[in-house]
């Protein structure tokens, strides 16, 4: 601070250490003139010039000399301004100035990089008023011009009744780009609603019209990014028009996606900014969904979702962390302490429930948990208006804490959600799939979401879908059949997606049909090399495996893997999954060496990929199972425990189907190791998890029951075992085709325990049925001798020793030699032989089977 340089009013101290005289304004003018001329002189001439110019005024000379001397140290002193103003920003085009055929009437707006003028035709050909947006003078840097052109290009794409139209474009005389748009004379949507005192229904309908414009933009791969009332004007006729794509983004893979440059640092409207926007994260169509949620909140309640604050940090916190007050409650809040009026009470009733949920779903913090598309949001409002159930519901977390929810209450909206997702997806999918890799990722996200939804660990969710969604999905398929006949590729994409949904729902026949059709269509419409063909093959193969058709699945997996190898497309999860799938097929066939190699190859690839922990856990699990089968229990334990750890972490304390599998497998290992007590604990935990996850008849619950039953049988708890097996069988009867191998296993198990309880007569037909199933589908060959042995046991108990003997003697050596799980059952088979000869009274034949 220059505290010492205090100067008197209108005077100033001279040269430091100089005469101490003062400088007046008049004196300064004198100094300036001489100084200025002196600076034109160099070296010795300068001193002479100054002396002459000062005409003996020593004080003046010293003053000029000292100032001139500063020239050596001046450098770039204050040459770099602290801030560079843009002259043209404040120098609008003059009224009456012409641009093309247009004459400027007045300035009507000003954006980040250009000004907008109202103009009319200069040639008087006909009367027309337009809005002209021109890049600011001096702002026409490459970046600005590029962005400006991008906006023009965006508008050119958007021919929609609710979007201000682009008429024309060009370059001004001084070389700045401009474009001519439809001039919208209207009121911001919130003010329009307030001024016309629109009813809730009218507001919703107006909002839906606005949504149609934004959805249209999204279909054209355009995200608006700055939705707010000021950018949605409603004309006097009540038509909303979307404006200002100034910071809109064209989703273009050739551009750095969503990179915010300094130029984006123009004032935005934080009230409408989504959490990802304020955090500077990628902005997608979901950000527009959020902004629409805020807008709807405002239109319905007349208030913003967060309390006004002057503290930006508080606002950011509110946006990112605070749950907004439900719209229906916000209305009450606005009434303050007064008794709410009847109007308010009515409005609150109108908003409570559906509309609250719709607004809050659009405004969820996590983009992926909002409505998938603006269209979906709009449709949900339409459903509300029609009195139909809506997709939106209270937040899932809140849902989960609820003890009990009526089945159909959940099932219906959920099924609707699945359907809407598909239908919404269908519309955007074409464009997305065809036009941008970025978009592909997004559609992939939709698919993932769909798939996750249908395999959701939330029991209420999956149950709901299980029960009621199929009908709706079926309708969706039909609708798709009718709607996309001319677009086989899109149809195939959708069928593939729907197939995944059915697969997760366990509707394997439907999934199979869809995958087959998708594969067929894809083969016809795409080149051989398209990755979608390989995916269809993989999906169909997985489905066939669920259907117990490993032999049909195997060549498909080979083909898919072959296709991927040809494309060099082997460093991805689909390929790794294919390897795992093939390994599982070989594993089941008893080709353990090959299976192990493929499991490991798949695992190696998976370990290099991000976010595939779930898949890694599958590989580990299968490797564990394989080691267990081979009797390498320590290795099996190692794999199982890593798999369980990964799955538990992924589950985050929620009931999880994969954790249930891991527990089950660990239990089976413990059982093999002879630790029956611990095995029982893990089996029961696994069963309990699955009962929570799948409240209805479910094959996984049945599997757990069967395993627990086996253990109880081994521990001598025959009644407990019987009850487990009966329940498992009953579930299989409801959920599986009669000839499904799993049903065969449950039949066989029940048949094996019943004789111990004196119910051999009941057991015999069960064992025979199981045997018939296994003989018809011999994927697991050891099941046949094993079941023959069980049947032999039944016959022994019934005293039909001669019938029992060939079955028991024939099966035992086969089991003994089996390289897989069959060997585990050899001991039981031998025991049955001992039982036979003991009961039959032929101890001499017994000797060979005693150890």
């Amino acid at each position: 601070m220059a505290a010492s340089r205090v100067s008197g009013r209108r005077t100033i101290r001279g040269e430091p250490g100089g005469s101490g005289g003062t400088v007046t304004p008049e004196r300064w003018q004198q100094i300036k003139v001489i100084l200025d001329e002196a600076l034109e002189q160099d070296g010795p001439e300068r001193a002479g010039f100054i002396a002459a110019a000062c005409q003996g005024d020593e004080e003046l000379r010293r003053e000029v000399e000292s100032l001139a001397a500063c020239e050596t140290e001046i450098g770039d002193f204050i040459e770099t301004p602290v801030f560079r103003i843009r002259l043209d920003e404040v120098e609008p085009l003059a009224v009456g100035e012409r641009i093309g055929v247009w004459r400027i009437v007045c300035e009507i707006g000003r954006g980040g990089m250009g000004a907008v003028y109202l103009a009319e035709r200069a040639d008087q050909e006909f009367e027309q008023r337009v809005a002209i947006k021109v890049v600011r003078r001096g702002m026409d840097t490459d970046e600005i011009v590029r962005r400006f052109r991008s906006e023009r290009q965006i508008l050119a794409h958007l021919d929609h009744p609710n979007i201000a139209k682009l008429f024309d474009g060009g370059t001004t005389e001084d070389g700045r780009p401009y474009f001519v748009m439809e001039y919208v004379e209207g009121r911001p949507i919130d003010q329009f609603c307030a001024e016309r005192k629109l009813a809730v229904r009218e507001r919703l309908e107006l909002f839906r019209q606005a949504c149609s414009a934004i959805h249209f933009a999204h279909q054209n791969l355009i995200v608006h990014r700055d939705l707010k009332p000021g950018n949605i004007l409603v004309t006097a006729d009540g038509v909303p028009k979307l404006l200002d794509f100034g910071i809109a983004k064209l989703l273009d893979p050739t551009q750095e996606p969503f990179a915010l440059t300094r130029l984006d640092l123009r004032p935005m409207t934080p009230e409408y900014a989504s959490p990802e926007q304020v955090r500077g994260e990628p902005i997608t169509t979901a950000s527009d969904v959020y902004a629409l949620g805020v807008l709807l909140y405002l239109l319905l309640t007349g208030q913003r979702p967060y309390r006004p604050t002057t503290d930006p940090q508080a606002l950011v916190d509110a946006i990112c962390k605070t749950e907004p007050v439900r719209p229906s409650s916000a209305i009450a809040r606005a009434e303050e302490v007064k008794e709410p009026s009847s109007e308010t009470r009515l409005l609150r009733r109108q908003l409570a429930g559906d509309l609250d949920n719709i607004v809050l779903m659009a405004m969820r913090k996590e983009p992926q948990r909002r409505y998938v598309s603006v269209d979906q949001l709009s449709n949900d409002i339409e459903r509300h208006l029609q009195g139909l159930p809506v997709v939106a519901r209270k937040d899932t977390l809140a849902y989960r804490t609820r003890k009990f929810v009526g089945r159909h209450k959940v099932a219906v909206p959920l099924a609707a959600a699945a359907l809407l997702l598909i239908v919404g997806f269908s519309i955007t999918a074409t464009l997305l799939w065809q036009r941008a890799e970025r978009a592909r990722e997004r559609s992939q996200a939709v698919v993932t979401f769909l798939v996750d939804l249908s395999s959701a660990p939330d029991p209420k969710l999956s149950h709901g879908v299980d029960i009621t969604a199929r009908e709706l999905l079926d309708r969706g398929v039909k609708k798709m059949d009718q709607s996309f006949t001319g677009q086989p590729e899109l149809r195939a994409d959708l069928m593939s997606t729907m197939g995944t949904v059915y697969l997760n729902l366990g509707s394997w026949d439907r999934a199979k049909q869809l995958f087959e059709t998708a594969l067929d269509l894809h083969r016809k419409t795409l080149g051989k090399n398209d990755p979608r063909i390989a995916n269809d093959l993989h999906n169909l193969a997985s489905t066939l495996r669920y259907l117990g058709k490993d032999s049909a699945a195997e060549p498909l997996v080979y083909e898919a893997l072959q296709l991927q190898r040809q494309r060099g497309d082997t460093r991805n999860i689909e390929y790794a999954r294919g390897l795992t799938n093939l390994a599982a097929i070989l594993d089941a066939k008893g080709d353990f060496d090959q299976a192990e190699r493929l499991y490991k190859e798949g695992l190696v690839i998976k370990r290099t990929l991000p976010n595939v922990d779930r898949d890694i856990a599958i590989s580990l699990n299968n490797l564990g199972k394989l080691a267990q089968t081979r009797g390498d229990f320590p290795t099996a334990g190692k794999y199982y425990r890593e798999s369980l750890a990964i799955r538990s972490k992924l589950a985050g304390g929620q009931p999880d189907p994969d954790v249930a599998i891991a527990l089950n497998n660990l239990a089976s290992l413990l059982q093999d190791q002879g630790n029956l007590a611990d095995a029982e604990i893990d089996y029961r935990e696994s069963l309990a998890l699955r009962r929570k996850l799948y409240p209805g008849p479910n094959s996984k619950v049945a599997g757990s029951l069967s395993n627990l039953g086996n253990l109880l049988q081994a521990r001598g708890d025959f009644a407990g075992a019987e009850s487990c097996f009966r329940e498992a069988l009953s579930i299989a009867d409801q959920t599986l085709p009669p000839d499904h191998p799993s049903r065969g296993v449950f039949l066989r198990n029940l048949a094996s325990v019943l004789p111990s309880e004196g119910k051999a007569a009941e057991a015999e037909p069960l064992a025979r049925e199981a045997l018939a199933i296994f003989r018809a589908k011999p994927q697991t060959p050891w099941r046949i001798p094993d079941t023959e042995s069980v049947l032999g046991g039944c016959l022994t108990a019934l005293g039909r020793y001669q019938e029992a003997e060939p079955l028991l003697l024939g099966s035992y050596p086969i089991l003994l030699k089996d390289k897989g799980d069959g060997a585990k059952h050899a001991a039981e088979a031998r025991q049955r032989i001992i039982d036979l000869y003991t009961a039959w009274g032929k101890p001499e034949r017994l000797a060979a089977y005693r150890t």
Partner: protein, 189 residues
């Protein structure tokens, strides 16, 4: 940003443009409040952890100012005068606040959040420059304005000449002598 602040700013700018000098004194704190809010918001957007660049900050204020286009300026000179003066006041008051904070003394001034990077102005002591510039304006008001426009709003010689309605040559001359005078004033004695 509450709308009332924005409206107040508009009104005060208007009043000031109509010759109410007291309006400026009321205006400065409001603009500061704006500035502080914008700074906070901008800071949020800086995801890579770098400190905020003063130019971005000042740009924001400037754009806010530009939003006040409803104000009917008597002439463009007046408008640029306001812009330059505001920039100057913002930076100087901020620098004073920093210096006060450093010394622990309590100069009553609007405090900005410390997270805003200090405009160092390339080694120039903003406060001393401000004081010297004030003295220069007392000697030659037009010359002071030229410096203000060139340094605080970055207008070129040509633009300044255009706005002030004088020749480019004059601007260049005035700029050159003003710089020498200011340089000497800021030299350690």
């Amino acid at each position: 940003m509450s709308t009332s602040t924005s409206d107040d700013v508009t009104k005060l700018l208007h009043d000031w443009s109509q010759g109410d000098t007291a309006a400026l004194e009321k205006l400065i704190p409001l603009v500061f409040e704006d500035l502080r809010q914008i700074a906070g918001r901008l800071f949020q957007r800086e995801t890579d952890g770098h400190t905020l660049q003063p130019t971005a900050l000042v740009s924001e204020v400037y754009l806010r100012l530009m939003d006040q286009r409803k104000v009917h300026w008597q002439n463009r000179e007046q408008f640029f005068g306001v812009a330059a003066l505001l920039m100057r006041r913002i930076l100087v008051d901020y620098a004073k606040g920093r210096q006060a904070a450093k010394r622990g003394s309590g100069i009553p001034t609007v405090q900005l959040d410390e997270m805003i990077a200090v405009p160092e102005l390339r080694g120039v002591d903003v406060v001393a420059l401000d004081e010297a510039l004030t003295r220069l304006a007392e000697l030659d008001e037009r010359q002071g304005r030229i410096v203000e426009m060139r340094f605080f709003t970055g207008l070129s010689n040509e633009e300044t000449a255009d706005i002030l309605g004088i020749s480019v040559t004059t601007i260049k001359r005035e700029w050159r002598t003003a710089k020498l005078w200011l340089r000497r004033e800021l030299s350690p004695s």
